[in-house]
Subunit: 295 residues, 2 copies
């Protein structure tokens, strides 16, 4: 009954690292439901997980799935070379899925020749930002375990840069040797000073991180250790991405708290920012592809 | 029988992270044996591990143990503030060990007020280098998961700097998202160029690491990815420690392969190096304390 009354029209899926998330979209474009699963690490486990998560919304008809963020290598899918639009205007290929109720269309990521770089997933959020704001020309920053900076102009991604500074945050706070030294969510003073220190002397970041740890071991008050840790790592990120944000207005897309940190750090450099909601951008971006797969 | 013929005179012990190593020293100063154990993470587990590892060399007499590298906090032991000699001239305190066959003397580490830093273990190797080379005046670098640079003058540690760049190497090559991209022991070309690139633009290291990963994902030949990874991280280390090595001759103490990498990178900057063997330095350093505990 429920199924007959609210059939899925299409499914927006994204693999982020090994985490798969689904938004099931109804006939009126409404979100019928969401689901997610971790530890998806191969094309076979991905297809099985998609079916498992979508099953309660499936009837007898075939439902198309737009799948972002999966490694193109799993299906020998070519990445698209920048400069280009974030998403392809045509040519999406359907996977030969094992179950006839799903028609899976992987969304190709982007590649850059020099410096060598790649993007698998963030292109949908950039497309979403452009769908929400068609005249946008400037810089989009997508913070996360990998942070991406993209120059967008005339509807195309012109160039981009990815760094692992978000992953570094996770490694430092996850290592048994150091994690006790940082109150992860501390919001005390020190963030701004730490950003400035690393922006002006980025080469000292590895020693500053140890010094923070030493303060904790020596019992010095370090209520703001977490804030300073964030500041040091974000300062290094900003130092490395200076050609992207200098003299620009920056659109941030990602986790609200993380985007807030970036906004504060960029404001210190006189850079204005706007924050867009990541999931809304993903859905808006994938929605632009629907006409290619549904007639 | 064996015990009676070769009794232990003293034991040199060191905790490095959570790994405990022992060298059992005989009446003539000869090394009777070695033993090691992992996962030593508290004062209680340390005392139990010492007894377990030493047991086959123990008779009825009490054997003194010089223990380096254990967190002073475990016994509320004060660290010594630089500038000072690497090891104390007197005042070693005996732990109240649970077993009367061992007399455990923890060796205090060093602390620095500004920038805040600490050293727990490397001070014995510095003392050993000075014992082997009493007139030494200059810079000692001790590479490892934590790399320490120390200014040594007139027999004292004047200042030092610790960084986590060795730990960063471990995190990058151990993370499931990246480890496939780096042939850890690759010795191809690219090391020297990577060192130079990061020395001149240290703020770009987080993006360069991702770019290396992207090359691997995109199937570009990356036989030297491991060598370049090492070069990028070592370049950042050298950039942050420039005040220590610039215009100096540097003594390296540590793992032979790692010291070889540092020597190559420093040679590119016109810096001469000499390598001393870490275990020999530890033993030589702890040996200078033996007159304080054995009469």
């Amino acid at each position: 009954m429920g199924k007959a009354e609210s059939p899925a029209r299409w499914i927006a899926a994204e693999l982020n690292g090994s985490a798969l998330t689904l938004q099931v979209i109804g006939l009126q474009g409404e979100v019928l439901g969401e689901a997610s699963e971790r530890h998806v690490v191969s094309s076979a486990s991905l297809e099985a997980a998609l079916l498992r998560l979508a099953e309660s919304w499936l009837g007898t008809a075939t439902v198309p799935v737009l799948l972002a963020g999966a490694p193109g290598q799993w299906w020998e899918q070519e990445l698209r070379a920048v400069p280009c639009t974030p998403l392809p205007a045509s040519g999406l290929a359907r996977l030969t899925a094992s179950d006839p109720r799903l028609a899976i269309y992987p969304v190709p990521g982007l590649r850059q020749a020099r410096p060598v770089d790649l993007m698998q997933g963030d292109e949908t959020r950039i497309a979403g930002a452009l769908a929400l704001w068609p005249q946008f020309d400037g810089v989009i920053c997508l913070p996360g375990a990998e942070t991406r900076w993209a120059h967008v102009s005339a509807g195309e991604v012109v160039s981009f840069q990815t760094s692992i500074s978000g992953a570094l945050m996770g490694w430092v706070t996850g290592d048994p040797a150091y994690r006790g030294s940082f109150a992860r969510h501390a919001e005390g003073d020190g963030f701004e000073i730490a950003v400035s220190e690393t922006l002006s002397r980025p080469e000292r970041v590895a020693a500053r991180l140890y010094s923070l740890h030493a303060e904790a071991v020596l019992g010095a008050p370090s209520a703001a250790a977490g804030a300073r840790l964030k500041g040091y790592i974000l300062g290094m990120e900003l130092a490395g991405a200076r050609p992207y944000w200098l003299g620009q207005e920056v659109v941030l897309i990602g986790d609200a708290a993380l985007c807030g940190d970036y906004a504060r750090a960029l404001a210190l450099q006189g850079v204005q920012t706007r924050v867009l909601e990541a999931k809304a951008c993903s859905l808006a971006g994938l929605s632009t592809l629907v006409p290619q797969i549904l007639r």
